[in-house]
Subunit: 188 residues, 2 copies
Amino acid sequence: MNEFIEALRIIYPLSDTSIDILLSHAEVISMKKGELVITEHQGGNYAYFIIKGLARGYVIQNGKDSTLWFASIGMTLLSMNAYLFTREGYENIELLEDAELLRIPVAMLNHLFETNLELCNWGRRMADHIIHRMELHFMRRNFMSASQRYHFFVTDEPELLQKVPLRHIASYLGVSQVSLSRIRAGIQ
Amino acid sequence: MNEFIEALRIIYPLSDTSIDILLSHAEVISMKKGELVITEHQGGNYAYFIIKGLARGYVIQNGKDSTLWFASIGMTLLSMNAYLFTREGYENIELLEDAELLRIPVAMLNHLFETNLELCNWGRRMADHIIHRMELHFMRRNFMSASQRYHFFVTDEPELLQKVPLRHIASYLGVSQVSLSRIRAGIQ
DNA sequence: AATCAAACTTTACATATGTAAAAAAAAACG
DNA sequence: CGTTTTTTTTTACATATGTAAAGTTTGATT
């Protein structure tokens, strides 16, 4: 739990008081590897913070499972579409390891953001970080060859390479698993 | 100016007081079509809001100019990398029309966010909107054919189709201008 | 240890989209 | 308005990456 709180504070420094307020409206839940935290059809009512474990967000496109991101300790899991526009989401969030999550109703989280300056700034900085991560991912996905994307991933995320099945890494990198195999074999 | 303030309030309702505070630290500047508001090498010290006009963000990748986004009234222009990490940015922002911009030092904007709850929530919601827009763009770019992307663009952004040279639209959609021509000719 | 299932790799072939270069059309300018 | 420049389209050809299907390896389970 301390490690988790430190992870929150990396985004934006929060006082003990603000942490307590946040925790007082949340509950810790345990979930197993393979379980879905949020699906496209339900899960929009809560936001989750990862205390321990690993998750991936994905969408189903043309019948294919496509990974959008991976998230670990301190990251927020929520259905962005549901959160922003109170409508059905489009992404699924699956646990890749047994996990402990902090669960808080989205309406309450929004209320805290609207009333507590520190928490609001935390939320703002978290959003900024997500934007930055998305920009990087977008640029790599669109301006680099499949092979370059893979080699960057190997350098940047060595732990994920160990923990995550290659098919998820392939879809995250935006290549077929066949291409990823070719790249790993050094054919290109 | 009223239209601009209304555009700000679509993101998050701001009181007259908060608007006044924001305006009191900002200045209105005029710039001409073709001018660069921000480049990869400089421009990180100010954030800009579009009062009037049209802009595009782009990067140079492998010697090619690639459009990341278009922005009009009420949108914020800033060097995200510079803003987040006080380091050099990577994107350029160019005006596609003569424009009026509201310019405010990034340090001041951050200070306002950190001290004013309403403005902080505005900043947070603005970031959320950017995330949503990026998600959509990412999914279209990566899960749709070039042709589908173009047809969505035609439907969603008919004004941009009129105002913006096709080569920028091509790079925004992530296709070569040759492919875009083929698509428009109905060859695929 | 034998069996079954899941994960990963390899092969063979198909194709959407890219690059380069020239032609045509449209816009800008004196 | 005729000339130059910019923008857009067309043509011809190249290639990175995808799909489908068959192997191979690895890991789980009894």
